[in-house]
Symmetry: C2
């Protein structure tokens, strides 16, 4: 059956890609399963109104009202006539008619499909549930187009549904706390790209971030006063539900529990003075599974927390236990021996088996990171894979349902193209149909070691939209260039929702320039990216929770467009030299070469930029080398070995980090230099 | 006694202004009462720490911790060593020592004075209350300076205290609702410029914005679901208290009560179907003061609302009653006749006298807009003046305490210089010492007819900082140019706090350009301001609560810097013609003249900008006229009467509004043109 579906998708995707080539003006993200053009656009005028037929949830009226406001804000057209869309709005000839059979339930696998059919008189949306209709509204806003007469919805017929049921984003609010408004705007962004699960990582060694009435020491001594009240949790969960998004909470055990153990040290494996962790990484504190009192405690904890989150899933973490505190503690060692446990992970499996009925008693399905996948763990749990494909495929093969996070770690500052190409069911894995069925979906993970409310949007968006597309759109939708074209459009669309991924940058540039002109700084920053993977926080001790995240590596964003574009230009030029491209490249190199003088001016007034001084010089030297290489290539002259050697040194220098950033245009210049020597 | 103080201020201000001329690098706002230099700067290094001596409120430790984080964010210096400032931090040799005698009370007239004394070893802050010390922390952050070795606090001795005890900002959250995070960042901005009263305007014809448990229909049917929960009110009031700011709530009666009367129509003067008002202005609905049931109702309302706001003052509005619903209602007319009331305002005075004991029973002092000042109203209330100086002086002379808002209406889009020169006790008013004593202070008013959470920061900041200075600094601090220099610096400082007055503009420019290059749009927008006073919302019916506020008049900010600067340049040139200024002016005019072509390109892709098309053309024509005038002036040739007449027509056209905006550089060009004809 899955194969059949895949065939259908392949067909639809070909239809769509054909369209995309014909008409470059659609910038839908995620790409819908099926889209055909019908040549019947609907003009948007002040007469625009929305009607609803059928029996949707009350949620749809609020979302439809919000749609009208967003459309008005986007087009500048006064749509004052319809303040709110209400149950009284049932006119069948309204410019936008939403036909919905029933309220959608916020459960895994609920029907989220919809159709859109435009005619010059009306856009008709049909959906089984209001969740589908809400997705349709987001599609419509992305479709809004312009011509010399104004705004319109293009003439299209769309038939759309998600490929995977679980399209998640993990937001870590423990390492750096994220206030309610950050969570809300993140939810707005998720809804815009049809994601449907917010996974909140709510506690870790650095703090416990939810008010507990049953175990109040959790927020009293284990949170630095920084936590959500239960009212705020309800507010966020309600806001998410309004957007059609489930909220899955994670309370990690048995390791990463320094905060809990500070509040309740009696459950620790090793008696020591626990204080909140100020650094980030993997630490030894861990609960003592041999303490029988631990389980009633965990039951209290999970029962109360489960009651705050209506979702059917509860995440117990389970990752990164060093085992040291177990192996160094005689009574725990003795327990392991007595129970025939050879490795400390056997003890963690024991712990998980004890925990499972506690979670089940709350009515939830237990899920955890792939460390919890150990021999003997029951199958009715969900594995979230983060450590690599092996664990992921292994869990699918063993019969577990799985969620893929490996390859979607957006905190590691890799390009959107990398995440986009991370296919959950690649042909190379030779998964069976049943195994593929057990893939629930995937989750982008925004761990917050190095992000704050100021920068978090820029680390999530727009790259996460590419992951959202991977999880929603047909498997065959894989054109990276087209993805980047649409990512640009969706980025502007996300900004209209209030996401600050673009504008925080101007703000930080102004702050860093300290009142000076930001231009030279921006020229430099536009070729920088923060160090990737786990390089930035050297030895895990460079940054703490108190560090400033307002510096060069914070204003530099992941996946910079300009270096990507420059690399393409160089590639194109080397493949087929021509004067136009040569000019473009030379102009760009000249700008970089000459930027250092202006940058040095800024330094006088802004010592914080000192860490960028070497980068700016290196960029200038690199650009000079590139210009020299261009001259050789232009004159069809071969550069000397000596020159090559000199420039190689320049290139090596340009690869050095500065301010925890790297210059992103070294490779293309290196290619020009190498070519000049051929 | 007041005269003596004024003399002292004058002396201090002269000291200060003397300093300001010597050293232009301080950008303090408000200007402190006394500042002298001592040549002993303190370098800020990673060893920076804060100690506290004395007995402050717990609030000071939180503010000091926040200070450390802000300093770290500003300088990029890792101040991780001191995560939080705690009662354990008492080292007398800390780089920053705060000496505080006692916790400050959030009451009118509390001691807010502080001193700062820098040496190369330590910055010493002394204050009677922690409120003073918190002001000192803001001063210190504004003082942070740079040299080629890094960041430092200049060597200064500051002795500072406020001129007025009530330095307020009214934020209207009724006409357009402002979410909690907007209120919080507004409070951060207020604290940064030493304002100490947030006046929340919480209900009006458009909605009632606070959850009531006693009268729940208020939020159920009179708020469109848009209101603060009581928990949120407490959160905001607590946040304000943490910043040393009082929150004064306003619940306006007897007019502007359409929302209340929708929920409880039995208290209306005229029985009609009340619906929430969608437009802005003055409307007839009004409570019926002759209904004896009204007063128990008001007691319920005010008693509950008073309990949410710990401040000693409660604002009952009282403004803009048309009287029509009273005069057209027989039983009310009869009541007035029976009680010898000739005018409807006599009935309002009767109502106020009935209301006063109800407010007093809540333990609060009643205040209201200057309409409540009518013969027979007791003296123990506070009058907030908004309709002009006459009412203001009159209330002072009659023995009322008064707060000046007239002249501080920041919603009217007037320049900071206008508000800055609005002196609460001008010599020309010949107020007696007792009358001056009754001036509690002033309030900037951010009415929200035409602002949304997106634009509100740009309407409040940075102009309100100039009002804050007027209310804090010595009366003699009046240099407008220096105010603007410091306003620039404080604007950047406010942005670091999270205020979005600058960055929302880039966001809206991008949205309006619809993915196109924003440059041409920005050139145009930088000479535009929204129509001022009450011009923008023509006939009060152009905009409703549902209108888009994402257009040209929203991206255009008040008090644009570039036109101000251009006017100065033209003034300078006309006073003393020189080649350098002529060049500068010509370059600017050329940019404007040539901008229209690029702007027209944008229009193709962004129909919403159509409303700016004429403005862009007019600016180009105006600039061309200016360039021609310059040529005449350069050649010392007199322009012909015919030319003058033609250019006059161009100038007249350039004065036309477009998109509810006006070009701000017409006057200086008109001056060039006129001069060319002389």
């Amino acid at each position: 059956m899955m194969k059949k579906t895949l065939l259908a998708w392949t067909f639809l995707a070909i239809t769509l890609l054909g369209q995309a080539q014909v008409n470059n003006t659609y910038s839908l993200m995620p790409v819908p399963a099926q889209l055909t053009e019908n040549g019947q656009p609907l003009a948007i005028t002040a007469a625009f109104k929305v009607s609803v037929k059928g029996r949707p949830d009350a949620r749809l009226y609020a979302e439809a009202s919000r749609f009208v406001r967003r459309l008005s804000n986007k087009t500048g057209i006064f749509l004052d006539k319809q303040g709110y869309v209400t149950t009284a709005d049932t006119a069948l000839d309204a410019p936008l008619l939403l036909q919905v059979q029933r309220p959608g339930k916020l459960v895994l696998g609920e029907n989220e499909a919809y159709t859109i059919t435009t005619t010059t008189k009306q856009v008709l949306v049909t959906a089984v549930t209001d969740l589908g209709a809400i997705h349709a509204l987001e599609t419509l806003l992305q479709l809004v187009s312009t011509n010399n007469r104004g705004y319109y919805i293009p003439g299209v017929a769309i038939n759309d549904r998600p490929r995977f049921a679980w399209r998640g984003l993990l937001l870590d609010v423990a390492l750096h706390f994220m206030p309610v408004e950050v969570v809300k705007r993140t939810l707005d962004g998720m809804a815009a790209v049809k994601m449907n699960v917010l996974h909140l990582h709510l506690c870790n060694d650095q703090g416990f971030r939810v008010e507990s009435k049953v175990l109040p020491r959790l927020q009293q001594v284990a949170a630095d006063g920084i936590f959500y009240t239960q009212a705020q949790v309800r507010e966020m969960v309600g806001y998410a539900a309004q957007r059609g998004i489930r909220v899955v909470p994670e309370f990690v055990v048995p390791a990463h529990t320094t905060a809990i153990l500070k509040a309740y040290p009696e459950y620790a494996s090793v008696p020591r003075k626990y204080t909140l962790q100020r650094y980030f990484g993997v630490f030894d504190p861990v609960m003592d599974p041999t303490n029988e009192q631990l389980y009633p405690f965990l039951e209290k904890l999970y029962t109360e927390m489960a009651s705050l989150f209506p979702d059917a899933y509860l995440h117990i973490g389970g990752d990164e236990n060093t085992g040291k505190d177990w192996l160094n503690t005689p009574h725990i060692k003795a327990f392991m021996q007595a129970h025939g446990m050879a490795k400390y992970m056997d003890l963690q499996t024991y712990f998980n088996r004890r925990l499972l009925p506690i979670i089940r008693k709350t009515g939830k399905t237990m899920m955890g990171w792939d460390e919890i996948l150990q021999p003997g763990v029951p199958k009715n749990i969900v594995i979230e894979s983060w450590r690599g494909n092996d664990a992921y495929y292994s869990s699918l093969r063993q019969g577990y349902q799985a969620i893929l996070s490996y390859g979607y770690y957006i905190d590691l500052i890799q390009p959107a193209s990398y995440h986009y190409q991370n296919e959950p069911a690649p042909d190379s894995a030779h998964l069976t149909a049943d195994e593929v069925k057990r893939i629930l979906g995937g989750e982008a993970t925004m761990w917050s070691e190095l992000v704050t409310p100021l920068t978090v949007d820029s680390r999530i968006w727009p790259r996460t939209a590419a992951i959202a597309e991977r999880l929603w759109s047909p498997k065959t939708v894989t054109d990276v260039d087209d993805m980047y074209r649409r990512l640009n459009a969706v980025s502007l669309h996300l900004e209209a929702l209030g996401l600050q991924h673009q504008l925080y940058k101007q703000m930080l540039l102004r702050q860093l320039a300290n009142g000076g002109n930001t231009q030279a700084l921006e020229v430099l920053v536009n070729v920088l990216e923060p160090l990737k993977i786990y390089e930035r926080n050297e030895g895990d001790t460079m940054y703490s929770v108190f560090s400033p995240f307002t510096k060069l590596a914070d204003v530099a964003t992941p996946d910079q467009a300009l270096p990507r574009q420059f690399a393409k230009q160089v590639e194109g030029y080397l493949a087929a030299p021509n004067a136009a491209l040569e000019d473009t490249i030379a102009q760009q190199l000249t700008l970089w070469r000459d930027n250092d003088a202006a940058f040095k001016q800024l330094l006088n007034n802004s010592p914080v930029l000192g860490e960028a001084a070497a980068l700016s010089e290196h960029l200038a030297q690199l650009a000079a080398a590139g210009l020299e290489a261009l001259t050789y290539l232009h004159g069809h002259t071969k550069a000397s070995a000596h020159w090559l050697q000199q420039k190689q040194a320049t290139i090596t220098k340009a690869r050095q980090q500065g301010g925890r950033c790297e210059i992103q245009v070294v490779d293309p210049v290196a290619r020009l230099v190498a070519k000049a020597g051929e």
